[in-house]
Symmetry: C2
DNA sequence: TTCCTAAATGATACACTATCTCATATGTCA
DNA sequence: TGACATATGAGATAGTGTATCATTTAGGAA
């Protein structure tokens, strides 16, 4: 697991470097720090959380740079954006993650993750027919989790 | 169609009034204005768009009130929140809308809507087993639309 | 290695969405 | 109508995310 982990990170790093080279961009200090922090992150995280983390750890990187690198990583396909209806941008890294979806409790805002199923592909033909190039998808369930139901006495 | 439309709006209004009564809240001026504007809105809209619209039309309602009433409507089930990965809150009304999903172009940010399919229900048993009470769900595809592919010369 | 240039960065200010506070206005019920 | 709780507006404020621009740095050329 740990070995696989390391290997996956190396692959992601290679992917990032390939992207940077191809785009004529540099392998800078800031990009290495942020890449590292992203790889250490578990589950999903917001841009602000990551930026705050970097500042608290006194890493040599500023908030604007964290944001900039996150968008690099997004374009490079190292992280993906997950869409939840609040005002923060959520990301999660692709590495070591099986495709999965999220269910979110509208009371406590906690997430449950569940694996992707191939049934989702029923939507592909419709979109492809319109010339839409699908890069990914995400299912977002919302409702009330067991704990919050208990609290409400439902 | 127009008749059905009116009927649907009346039903939504009744739903809203029931919610307000039950919650011991009042049928106020601001709530009526915002309800009306929401019903006039097509497709999905952001809170800020609606607020701006009200201000521009010089309706007697302030921005904080628009936000407050939107959350009333959310709780009443008159509108639902759609989750996209930008920093604005998106809503759409439930009235006259068949369940549908969204595909969004990552370049131009435009949406394609497509109808809900019962295959989505494969996820229900898993969530219900955990005691999660499902209130709704949304599928969000992302990719590049035909126009933007053409522009990029892909 | 050193120099040169374009890219990256940080400090700062700023834009924008959304929310909070609190004094005032208004709806509801007796 | 009077009393009181709820709703509202004006304005301040919080928080996320961006733009600007002077300075620093990566990385290739000499």
């Amino acid at each position: 697991m740990s070995k696989v982990n390391t290997q996956m990170i190396d692959e992601e790093r290679a992917k990032f470097l390939r992207y940077l080279t191809k785009a004529g961009r540099r392998v800078s200090h800031g990009r290495e720090i942020v890449f590292d922090q992203v790889m250490r992150a578990h589950g999903h995280f917001t841009a602000e959380e990551l930026a705050r983390g970097c500042l608290e750890k006194k890493l040599k990187v500023s908030r604007p740079t964290v944001y900039r690198v996150l968008y690099d990583l997004l374009e490079a396909g190292v992280i993906r954006e997950t869409a939840f209806g609040d005002k923060h941008r959520h990301f999660e890294h692709v590495y070591d993650e099986k495709p999965h979806h999220h269910a979110q409790c509208i009371r406590c805002h906690r997430f449950i993750e569940f694996p992707d199923r191939k049934e989702d592909e029923v939507y592909h033909p419709y979109l492809e027919k319109q010339g839409f190039k699908i890069l990914g998808h995400e299912m977002h369930f919302y409702g009330v989790c067991r704990k919050c139901q208990d609290k409400e006495g439902l």
